[in-house]
Structure formats: C-alpha cells, structure tokens
Symmetry: C2
Subunit: 374 residues, 2 copies
C-alpha cells in the first residue's frame, strides 16, 4: 500500500501508452450530446453522462465511459427507452415504488433520488424502490447525491448474474452492490461503495485486458475449481461471493449480503431478481431493481454534531497503530475521493481503445467528436 | 457439507460427553428467575431469557445461556441497571432515538422493536436507533421479532472492539453484526444474521475450548501475522474483517461494512463507537448502540405476493446445479431454523461447564435450580 501525497493519487494506474487524458467537462459534454442525439431528454442525458464520468473520475473505470457503447446499443435495440414514462406506482409519506419503464438506469434513479430526498425532508426517513430500470452506474453516485443534501444516503441495486451463491456451481446472482454515504466535517466524506462479490466484474476485465492472471480466490471455473484465468472467470465460470468459496472464510456471508440486496432491490420492488435480471442488450427487458434510502440526520442529532462524531471516528481509526504491511489506513471512499481530485486537475484517463470507441459512436450517431487529449 | 434430514439437523455438534440436554422452556424459565431475583422486572427478565435461549436453540451457543454469567456480573457491578429508565429522546412518525439508561440490551431492544413496529404500522417504514444500551444477544432475534409482524426487519449493533480494521494492527472495531429477516410462504423464513468479521468471537471460543487450531484467515496475532492459535486471537491479537487480511480478497469491504454498522448504531444514535464501546463489566458504561428498522411489506405489494416472490427466489437458488463440494445449498437462517426445530424436540444442549455455572449462579442469587437433564 503506497503512501499518497494529496492531489497526486490515483487508485488505478493509467500509463500514457494506454491512455489519453481529457477534461472531465469535455468528456461529460460529449457523452451527454450522444444521448441527446439518441433522443434522450437533456436532463436525463446530463445525469447519465455525469454518472459515467464520475465513475472515471473516482477510478472506477469499469463503470465509466467504457460503458457508453453498451448504453448506446441498448437505446438502439429498444431494450432501453430514450423517453420512458417513469411513474410512481405506490407511495406514502416515507416511501415510494417507482416503475422506470425501461429507461436509462440513471434517468430513473435521478427521479427516485429526488423523490427520496423530498420525502425525507418532510418525513425524516424515506425509502424508494425501483422496478423496470436498467444499469444505474456506480452505486456510490446515488448515495453521494443524497449525502450532498446533508442526509445519510443508501443505494443498492441488483444486476445480471455473474456470481455463484455459496454451494452453486454456476453464476446465479449479480455483484449486487451496497453503498452508504455520510457527511463529515472535512473531506473526504464517508462513501462505502462495494460489490457484495469478492471483486466487481470490472476488476477482472482489467486483468483480462492486461493479459494477467487474477488472484486465487476471486473466481471459479465451470468445474467449480478456483481459476486464475480472467477469461474463464468472465465467460464460463463465476465470480465468488465476498468471503470466497465455501463457508470457512465467510462465503455464505457474501452470498447472504447479495441476497439481501436483491430482496430489497428486486423482490420488494417488483423487479426481476437473481438469474432473471437481464443484460442491457438482451431479448428480454433487463428489469433491474434498485433500492434507495435517505435519512435526515437533523432528526437524530444536530448535523454538525453528527459530522464531528463521524470525523472523530475517522481520525481515531487513522491514528491507531498500523499493520506492518500498511503505511496508510484508508476510509471508505477516500481512494476514490483522492483520485477524483487528481483527475479533475490532471484530466480523466480514457483507455485508447475506449477513446476510439467513443469517436466511432459519435460518427455513427452524428455527433461532432471534439474531445481533445490534454 | 452434510445432507440433513428435516428435524435431525444441528448446525453445531453437541456430543453427550460434553453436553446435557434440557427443555427450552425449563431453561428459559430458570434464566428468567435469575434475572427477576436480581431485580429485573418480569417482562424484561423474560425477553432477556428468551433471547439467550433462542440463541442456544438456533445453534449460536456463543450468544446463549453461557453469557448469563456476564449479564449477572454486569447487574451486580451496576454497569447494567436492573430497572433502567428507558426513554424516547427524540421521535417523529417514522423514527425514534431511545436512551437505554444502561439497561439490559434485551430489555432496551424489546422496547425499541415494539416502537419500530408500531410506527411502521402507521408510517410504513420506521427506524429506531438506541444509545446507552448493553449487549443485545443475537441480532437475528430482533429482526425475527419484526418479521413475525409480517414486516421486513433489520437489526444491527456495535460491540466492543475485537476486530482489526484493514490496515490496523490492533483490534479497534466490534464484530458489528447485521441481520435482516423477511417472511416466506413456507418455513424457513429468510433470516440473515452475520458478524461483519470473518467469524464471530464465539466461534473462536469454541476452538479454544476444544484445544483446536483455528483456520488460517480468521485472526492475526499481535505481530500482524495470521495466527492459528485461538487463545492468541482472543487475547492479544485481533479477528479479521470479512474478506480477510489486506485488500486482495476484500478485507476493506468487511471493514467498510463494520464501519457502516457502527455509523448507524453508534454514531447516529449518540452511543459509543469503535474502540469506545466497553465490555458489559467495565469501569466505564458499555454504552452500546443499536439500529432497528421495520418495513411494512403491504405498503409495497400485497404480502402474499412478496412471500411468494421470496419463496420462488429460494426455490430457484436451491434448484440450481450444485458445486461438486456441496450436496446442499443453504439459505440464510435455514441451518439455525432446522437446529431450532431439532432442539425443541431433542432438548437444548448445555455445555456441562455452563450447566454447572448456571447452578452456581442460582446458588449465589438464591434461585431454586430445577433444571433437569433430559
């Protein structure tokens, strides 16, 4: 674990031979233009672009603009609707069920978040579940949006099956992430954003791209044995739940957490669940489900008191004696925060192949490609 | 993983040379009498006894009647108050903050759960956080109590530091469990009840008692290296977070989950947090914090539809091709459920040393020891 100097830390490496750097604003604007050209309303196009670029800024490239192609394909194929009729199916003072009508996951989630925050302002806590949605990007984007309103934000989603459940041979559940965000007195805020599998699929994709073996314990092959081959893991095998294979190191806990996320995002919302959640471009509607919660901190204690307590907690953890293998103790979201600060200044690295892909997409849909490398 | 025949499964072995079996009702009644004798009101004594015996029934002996001595010592030392003034500090339609006034964690939690369910009946979702409490037993007892009201129940608590946070050498956070329970059409219901550490401390205690080595990956010694010695793990070392040592297999995720539990149970409630949470018998008030949530399923969809959806999910997972190392696929809470069914018939196993301990306690406090082995 390397020490970092504030402002020059990036959680994922971006060597100049593989990446170009571009301004975040330019990238966001271009991606937004692509969505607008495909018929997506301005506001929805903006939040989707912002969500993708935010992932790149935070060093979660797997959920960044490299997914643009998938979204564009979904819009073209009709499995993602550009102008969905997003509607509230049920609601009360402190909850709502939203039907996303197969819209972009980000367009639907933005609507859900807005509603959750409005309700929590009046009812102190609010829960919004969503059905008939699509991939919503990084979970932490949505919890952060709630946190920016001085609330505790919770965000979960189910996703297409890539992960084995303890005891199954095949992939049956998604990487089903959990995110919770809470404000502190000084940056970085607390932003936990984690797949309930050992790793998200994007991390394995990075190893595949580099032709590197994956660590033992991340995935199994079709025979159920641990595989070090990223291609096997992604194509025929399965990612393992947090805690790994079997129960000795807690694989059943990762499986249980994944089930919990799906129970709240999929079962309770009326969305698809488990193996029924489909890919963005598929023969069936993806019908992804989300879960959001907003907790109005002021209801529980004065906001600044909460922030101070959380900040003290962070300082306490950071001040304790370090393990000999570590010279830095990280708080959830801190690496991403530092990465974002760095990339806002140095530019967002875009993998050269992705840069070309975006250029091609612009050509196809008829958007001027004006993305200048820095 | 052994196959089980319904009704004769126990998740933890109880060989007759080490254990006696007693009727659950007898055990509950005796334990209740001990609390009453120590000044605890009848109702509070009952729920505390029920909570401890339920842990034994579910095969979580570490949280069962072997903790009676600790509770009795707390009551005698005054760090646990027999007749606390449990009060609502703040509340709204869908939330409350409770001050437990150093009462038994179970007495305080029973009050909190009752309030959460009442509020959720009217407001559809309710969240109750608790400060100034004590050890509340198994997390799953409380989520189950909410579930019995046809709601989704969530229960979390912080606990005294036993676990290293990723990058720290020493124990700094608790095993901070998460539990969520939801009803199904047919038993067993879904009851996830898990420490956010690789294992709860009780599991290591079992290895110590048997003089067995613990699996590599559960704990580190005072030098930060993996230890197989349960004594070292419990005394000088630290239990590892779910995901293990370092970040490769997701230790930072377990640490993040533990932090999340403490953020909601400790920071938001005004209780102690992290290393400040004390043992039941200590020089400072334990000031344990809890978090409870009740979700009224009927607000989201007809209850039976939810139960059917969840039951279908369970059936789907169980019907998928099994990993060659498994001949059974378990659902969260299923092992405990089967264990309880078995023990309600065969009797609750009580470790002989614990049986004697309870006998001694009865002698000390002046309660007739009428616990007949079956």
């Amino acid at each position: 674990m390397a020490k970092y100097a504030p402002g020059v830390f990036e959680k994922t490496p971006a060597p100049p031979e593989d990446y170009v750097r571009v301004r975040a604003d330019d990238l966001r604007n271009l991606v937004k233009n692509v969505f607008v050209k495909l018929g997506v309303p301005e506001e929805d196009a903006w939040v989707t672009a912002d969500n993708l670029v935010e992932a790149d800024l935070r060093g979660i490239e797997s959920h960044g603009v490299q997914r643009l192609k998938r979204y564009v394909n979904g819009l073209k194929a009709g499995s993602v609707k550009a102008k969905p009729n997003i509607r509230i199916v049920r609601e009360g003072a402190s909850y709502a069920v939203i039907d996303g009508d197969m819209g972009l996951g980000q367009a639907v989630s933005a609507r859900a978040i807005k509603l959750a925050v409005e309700k929590a302002r009046k009812a102190d806590i609010a829960m919004v579940v969503v059905r008939n949605s699509n991939h919503y990007g990084i979970a932490g984007y949505w919890s952060s949006k709630i946190m920016e309103q001085d609330m505790i934000g919770v965000s979960m989603t189910n996703s297409r099956p890539l992960v084995a459940y303890t005891g199954t041979l095949k992939r049956i559940v998604g990487t089903n992430p959990i995110s919770i965000a809470a404000p502190t007195l000084e940056p970085p805020p607390f932003i936990l954003d984690m797949a309930t599998s050992v790793v998200p699929s994007g991390k394995i994709e990075v190893y595949r791209r580099k032709g590197k073996k994956i660590p033992r314990g991340w995935a199994i092959g079709p025979d159920g044995r641990i595989t070090e081959d990223p291609e096997v893991a992604l194509k025929e095998g399965a990612i393992l739940p947090l805690g790994g294979l079997g129960e000795v190191l807690g694989g059943h806990k990762g499986s249980g957490l994944s089930f919990m996320v799906d129970l709240l995002s999929g079962v309770l919302s009326g969305a698809a669940w488990g193996p029924h959640v489909a890919y963005t471009v598929a023969n069936q509607p993806p019908n992804v489900g989300h879960f959001f919660m907003a907790i109005n901190i002021e209801a529980f204690m004065p906001l600044n008191e909460f922030k101070k307590r959380l900040t003290d907690y962070v300082k306490t953890i950071k001040s304790i004696e370090k393990h000999p293998d570590f010279d830095y103790i990280w708080i959830p979201g801190e690496k991403s925060w530092m990465t974002k600060e760095t990339r806002l200044r140095k530019g967002v690295p875009v993998y050269k192949k992705v840069y070309q892909e975006i250029k091609d997409i612009c050509g196809e849909v008829g958007v001027e490609f004006n993305l200048k490398p820095l």
